[in-house]
């Protein structure tokens, strides 16, 4: 699954650590999601969507 998390974070000038704090996950988890190595659960995806004020589809895209 692809995502725009890194772009959205950069647009707001946030560090991975700041985004991790906002999403209540570790910095390593944010890094893994940004790199596409870990797909977040639906609740975490909704949390990211709320934080960025976007829909889930605008952040995460299915590669299949």
């Amino acid at each position: 699954m692809k995502n725009k998390l890194k772009v959205l974070r950069a647009e707001r000038d946030w560090t991975q650590a700041q985004l991790a704090e906002a999403l209540e996950v570790s910095r390593q988890t944010v890094n893994a999601i940004e790199k596409g190595k870990f797909d977040p659960s639906l609740p975490l995806a909704f949390k990211a969507a709320r934080l960025f004020k976007l829909s889930i589809e605008e952040i995460f895209q299915d590669e299949g």
């Binding site: 700041q18 906002a22 870990f38």
Partner: protein, 144 residues
């Protein structure tokens, strides 16, 4: 950053603090359990001269501290984020599976007299610890 985002982040800092507290609690109860294990094993011979009552108390204390350690571990894992929980789950699965298979093979070697020494339970505990540490390390590397 907006006020709302600042509010979200300050609330999240309490999550991180809670995680640190859970880790510290797990460390405390693990240390207490290990110390009570040493007391249970060495106390009867070297401290209280095989007094049965004190030995039973030491065994019960060791059991109680072990249960506290398990509860602290559950709280610690519950508070981790979903990727960390997955790493832990994978590591526990690998540890359980390998310990069962390798442990029984090790026991067979002893029963069949294919090894010259006694298959001690402590060897299995060491194997489990090392397997879990390696599995956690590999799990973390996988998501880096």
């Amino acid at each position: 950053m907006t006020d709302k985002n600042n509010e979200i982040i300050s609330k999240a800092k309490s999550w991180q603090q809670k995680n640190k507290n859970n880790t510290a609690k797990l460390g405390f109860w693990s240390t207490a359990w290990v110390l009570s294990m040493a007391l249970t094993n060495f106390g009867p011979r070297f401290i209280w001269d095989l007094n049965i009552s004190l030995t039973v108390i030491a065994v019960l204390l060791n059991l109680a501290l072990g249960l506290k350690m398990v509860l602290a571990n559950i709280a610690h894992i519950k508070a981790l984020d979903e990727m960390q929980q997955r790493i832990q789950l994978n590591a526990m699965g690998i540890t359980l599976g390998l310990s069962l298979v390798v442990g029984l093979t090790y026991s067979n070697l002893d029963v069949l007299d294919l090894i010259t020494f006694h298959a001690d339970i402590a060897h299995l505990v060491i194997f489990m610890g090392l397997t879990h540490i390696i599995a956690i390390f590999i799990g973390n590397r996988k998501y880096q």
